[in-house]
């Protein structure tokens, strides 16, 4: 016969082990989530340049509209880098929580290339297209806000084409055309319809 006080001690010890196990598992998960979040929010390599007060055109899904908003962005003198940082400043707004126009985590501009003085190719991450919500208006709002913001802050660009992870893709998420070169003046006219 095991004494009663010994039984209680063992039961308490088992409960303590169980609770500490649960706490350890929760802490591990929390740690992982924090690491993941930190990775997502990891600042990109510091950009040499001056902070500028620019206007960016943002999509607002609730209103189905585009609106100009001020933003303070570090913009380098180099034209390509300036274009990339300008585009990233738009995506940064969409990746916030809450977002006026939510995009998938990991949506980013990998690089931009000037094919000629007035023609630019924008290479996006795979997540930018793979995780983009599908719909004509949603997709057009994204592309229009990016191109129009570029148009306003990096002068002299007449044609823009998007790549996804270095490759051509037919559409952004089933609708908006990614095969053609976008004429910035045509996009400017289209943007007026949304403003």
């Amino acid at each position: 016969m095991i004494p009663r006080h010994f039984q209680i001690t063992i039961a308490l010890a088992l409960v303590a082990i169980l609770i500490s196990g649960i706490v350890i598992i929760r802490m591990t998960h929390k740690e992982e989530a924090m690491v993941e979040q930190a990775a997502d929010m990891a600042p990109s390599a510091p950009v040499a340049g001056q902070q500028e007060h620019i206007q960016i055109l943002l999509a607002y899904d609730d209103d189905q509209a585009l609106r100009w908003r001020p933003a303070d962005v570090f913009l380098p003198a180099d034209r390509s880098l300036r274009a990339r940082e300008t585009l990233r400043s738009v995506l940064a707004q969409y990746l916030q929580t809450p977002s006026p126009h939510p995009l998938a985590r990991g949506a980013d501009i990998k690089d931009v290339y000037f094919v000629s003085n007035d023609t630019m190719v924008i290479d996006t991450t795979a997540q930018f297209a793979d995780g983009h919500p599908s719909g004509i208006l949603l997709e057009e709002l994204t592309l229009t806000s990016l191109i129009e913001t570029l148009n306003a802050n990096v002068p002299g660009i007449n044609k823009v084409k998007f790549l996804v992870d270095g490759k051509e893709r037919e559409t952004l998420a089933g609708h908006a055309d990614l095969m053609s070169f976008y004429q910035t003046n045509a996009v400017h006219e289209m943007a007026k319809e949304f403003e």
């Binding site: 599908s134 208006l137 908006a176």
Partner: protein, 461 residues
């Protein structure tokens, strides 16, 4: 006496066989039409469900015989391997699973699949457009349809001239005041099911499909005689003449029945494109509601609405099949659609959005040969007119609507007028996308807008 009984029994036995044969309904069959030929496949009843043999379905297209390997039946067609497992409701085509809509049965080495499996098996293995008219059991591979238009003449003697895009040889039968042309092998299709011509000798033309065949039935108050001409591409029906008069007026057989006034102008029709399909689901609204399903339902509704207004229309897909954007444009351009309407459903917001094409290179000058990316150049103004007319009709019906130009595929690749219509959820939630009343209203407004635009464009009635 014994012989009498035996004879009587024999008569009863023979009658027992003959009666069902004479009154038998035709065996259910599926007809498959290809660009080269057409063939029929017997439809079997298995537990109340229609089944077909995969060998009967695929062998005429060049498929190998099914071979049993590792408990799987394997065939090859168009360099695609097709695998069936007995009692499973999925097959593997080109490494991807295809839903067959029922279990695979194997009977004495014959692999049987549900009738509905014909569409995924053919479309995935052949990688081409397959159109399945399910109720009539007719399958069209590719776009080699035979179309026709009817020309009714009410002159001294009324006549009905049927002009077909390909030579036809129908079985003709007469039953009192109706003459029926039955097409067993010809891939005849029509978007108009009934045309009325008044109450004279020729009163109506009815198109119908059933059991793997199509038929045209002409009714009137007189017996009709039939003349074939133009190498079988034209059939003329007119009231029979008295024998003497007929001999006096007879014309040489080789003389074409068409007159100078008849011209083979292409039939105006609207190409309705239910966007997405197959593995391309489009936007998702919750776990079950998909854009590809909403667009197909809306497309069928629009087809009905257009038909009610006497406007022919075709569905670019009438099943859950995948067609690429380039192919959608190719089909529409090849068939010379009068107007192309792409149907979409998507977030955000509410109401309906009507889009007209916006060319990325507006400086492009329309010439004889157009770049694919700006094939729309020559039709841009007409597309905008159609979008305006549809938008106006939606406003008239009290629908919340926005209209804009966007660079959208495949609108910019269309050589004719093209628009896209996107249905957004209403305030009361996602179910509004499925709401029959709302779909009816939207389809009706689109059809009315197209009817208005068609008048403006001066299309042939």
């Amino acid at each position: 006496m014994r012989w009498n009984k035996a004879g009587f029994a024999l008569v009863i036995f023979v009658l027992g066989w003959l009666v069902p044969i004479s009154g038998a309904t035709p065996e259910p069959q599926l007809t498959v039409y290809t660009a080269q030929a057409s063939y029929s496949v017997s439809v079997l009843d298995r537990g109340g469900k229609p089944y077909i043999s995969v060998t009967d379905l695929l062998s005429p297209l060049g498929a190998s015989s099914p071979q049993l390997k590792n408990k799987e039946w394997r065939m090859e067609l168009n360099k695609a391997e097709i695998r069936f497992s007995p009692d499973k409701d999925k097959a593997t085509v080109r490494g991807h699973q295809a839903d067959l809509g029922g279990r695979v049965l194997v009977e004495e080495g014959r692999v049987l699949v549900p009738l509905d499996a014909a569409l995924p098996l053919l479309s995935r293995s052949l990688n081409t457009m397959v159109d399945f008219h399910r109720p009539a059991r007719r399958i069209f591979i590719g776009s080699g349809f035979t179309r026709f238009y009817a020309q009714f003449k009410n002159e001294d003697q009324s006549s009905l001239v049927l002009n077909f895009s390909q030579p036809v040889k129908p079985d003709v039968s007469h039953d009192q005041d109706r003459t029926t042309l039955l097409f067993r092998k010809e891939p005849i299709v029509s978007e108009t099911s009934k045309q009325l011509f008044g109450d004279g000798a020729i009163q109506s033309l009815i198109y119908s499909e059933d059991n793997g065949t199509a038929s045209l039935t002409v009714t009137g108050n007189a017996a009709l005689e039939i003349t074939r001409s133009d190498d079988g591409k034209t059939i003329t029906l007119q009231p029979e003449k008295p024998a003497v008069e007929a001999v006096a007026e007879s014309t040489p057989q080789n003389e074409p029945a068409t007159t100078e006034g008849q011209r083979h102008t292409p039939e105006f029709f609207v190409m309705i494109d239910p966007s997405h399909g197959g593995s391309d689901k489009g936007a998702s609204f919750g776990s079950k509601l998909l854009e590809k399903d909403i667009t197909l339902r809306l497309a069928r509704e629009l087809h009905k609405e257009l038909e009610e207004r006497g406007i022919a229309s075709r569905l670019l897909r009438d099943g859950d099949i995948e067609i690429g954007l380039e192919r959608r444009a190719e089909i529409t351009n090849e068939q010379h659609a009068g107007i192309y309407v792409a149907l979409h459903a998507g977030f955000p917001g509410h109401g309906v959005r009507v889009y007209s094409p916006l060319l990325n290179d507006p400086q492009q000058i329309a010439g004889r040969f157009l770049p694919w990316e700006s094939a729309q150049s020559a039709a841009l103004a007409r597309s905008q007119a159609v979008a305006q007319a549809v938008t106006a009709e939606m406003r008239k019906k009290g629908l919340s609507v926005a209209s804009m130009g966007v660079p959208l595929r495949p609108l910019n690749n269309m050589v004719g007028p093209a628009i896209a219509v996107e249905l957004a959820p209403e305030g009361d939630g996602l179910q509004s996308l499925e709401n029959q009343k709302r779909q009816n209203a939207v389809a009706s407004a689109i059809a009315s807008g197209i009817a208005q635009a068609r008048i403006q464009m001066g299309a042939r009635p």
